[in-house]
Amino acid sequence: MLRLLSAERLARHPRLADEMFRHRAAQFRDRLGWEVQVDADGRERDAYDALDPLYLIWQRAEGGHGGSFRLMPTAGRCMVNEHFADVAGVTSSPFIWEVTRFCLAPRAEGQVAAALMLGGGAVMRAAGLEHLLGVFDARMERIYVRIGAAPEVLGRRGKGRDRIGVGLWRLTPEAEARVAARAGLSPDLVARWVARDFDAASVPAPARSA
């Protein structure tokens, strides 16, 4: 199942959060050799995790983390603009959100990546966005291509395994159908999951006692 969680709500799911930050350490430090901050318990977090982002997470049937990414609008502080401006310039709009730390659990399938991409499309629709702006390594880029969600690359830095790209995704019915088939999920179901969480900004409706 997909979950869209604010940092605040993520804290109420300690196992999911813990696994996500560990899997990020496995992907970004162990596999890619990036210089990321990993705490004593093996969790990778950065300054942007402290800025109340949203997380889109694939939660496995047994409750654990299958894969995830982090969302923030480019109108405020964000990673693309503060760390990758040399690659694609500074993009700034409340209607373009960045996707960073796209991470798959060890041995996760392309199916999980496809489910996450499908969820990204549902977020775009729920928030009225036209674009998502992503930062990705060479392996993730290959996965995006394979699942039918190739980004439009705005710029790249580095070579080979160390290559990093910045690119845009848009929402097209054709891409959505391809990715949905790969994920084995109905776009309607994914849209419902995302809409439910998107609306759950807080708790119940106001008491209109006034």
Binding site: L51, A75, P94, F95, H131, E152, A207, R208, A210
Partner: protein, 240 residues
């Protein structure tokens, strides 16, 4: 018609040189939207508050005197968010909050609200709120129709407030990326989107993202407005 009226209000806001101009702009906006109240509310990390708006003075004084900032569900609900929040989604269930809401209604606030959270540099936080009294259906129609515009207007107010606060230069000065400048320049000389994309060897989708970002940086409502602003600021120059 109404879009150009909004544009002219934003032009005046952009030209504002003093906090009083912000107040004039927000009053003009209230008339434009024909709603009960509009408020821009800046809350600094140490609880200092600053703003402008059309709430009755008695309510503003009451709010400060009672320290309502601490329990106001709109503040609590928006503080960690970056997307607009309809007041219906907030938690108004506790006794203190119900009393706060009653007090607000007694002071002339409408039952509907829509707040746009803004996160500025260095932990800056502000809200732009529309408050109105109407039924849920009419409200849903209003917010759906104006959500995008209200987000842009909210940022326009925040930009000005930051400018006054820090005495800094407007942040939009010459901040367009080279690609955004190229795109705006070609649009200014009359190229179609397809021609611009072709000339820059990018897809129309990528072009849309450049235009979107340039529009936002220029504080413009639409592409025509953005081109006009880029030209009036001398960011793009066309001529013989």
């Amino acid at each position: 018609m109404s879009a150009s009226r909004l544009e002219s209000i934003l032009e005046r806001l952009d030209a504002a040189t003093a906090p009083d101009d912000l107040q004039a702009a927000i009053e003009a906006l209230r008339a434009h939207y024909a709603v009960d109240h509009l408020v821009y509310h800046w809350v600094s990390p140490d609880g200092e508050q600053y703003g402008c708006g059309t709430y009755p003075r008695a309510w503003v004084e009451r709010y400060l005197e009672r320290g309502y900032l601490r329990i106001d569900p709109v503040i609590q609900g928006c503080y960690r968010r970056f997307h607009p929040v309809d007041w219906k989604r907030l938690d108004w269930s506790s006794r203190a909050v119900r009393a706060f809401l009653r007090d607000a209604r007694d002071h002339g606030l409408g039952r509907q609200g829509f707040s746009v959270p803004i996160r500025g540099p260095a932990g800056q936080f502000a809200l732009f709120t529309v408050n109105h009294d109407c039924d849920d259906t009419a409200w849903a129609v209003f917010t759906a129709a104006h959500c995008r515009e209200l987000i842009l207007v909210a940022h326009a107010f925040n930009r000005k407030a930051l400018e006054f606060e820090a005495g800094r230069l407007p942040e939009h000065q010459a901040q367009l990326s080279p690609r955004e400048l190229d795109a705006m320049t070609l649009l200014a000389i009359g190229y179609s989107r397809a021609q611009v994309a072709d000339t820059l060897s990018i897809s129309e989708h990528t072009l849309r993202a450049y235009i979107e970002s340039a529009r936002f940086k220029l504080g413009a409502l639409n592409t025509t407005h953005a081109v006009a602003r880029a030209m009036s600021r001398g960011l793009i120059v066309i001529g013989p």
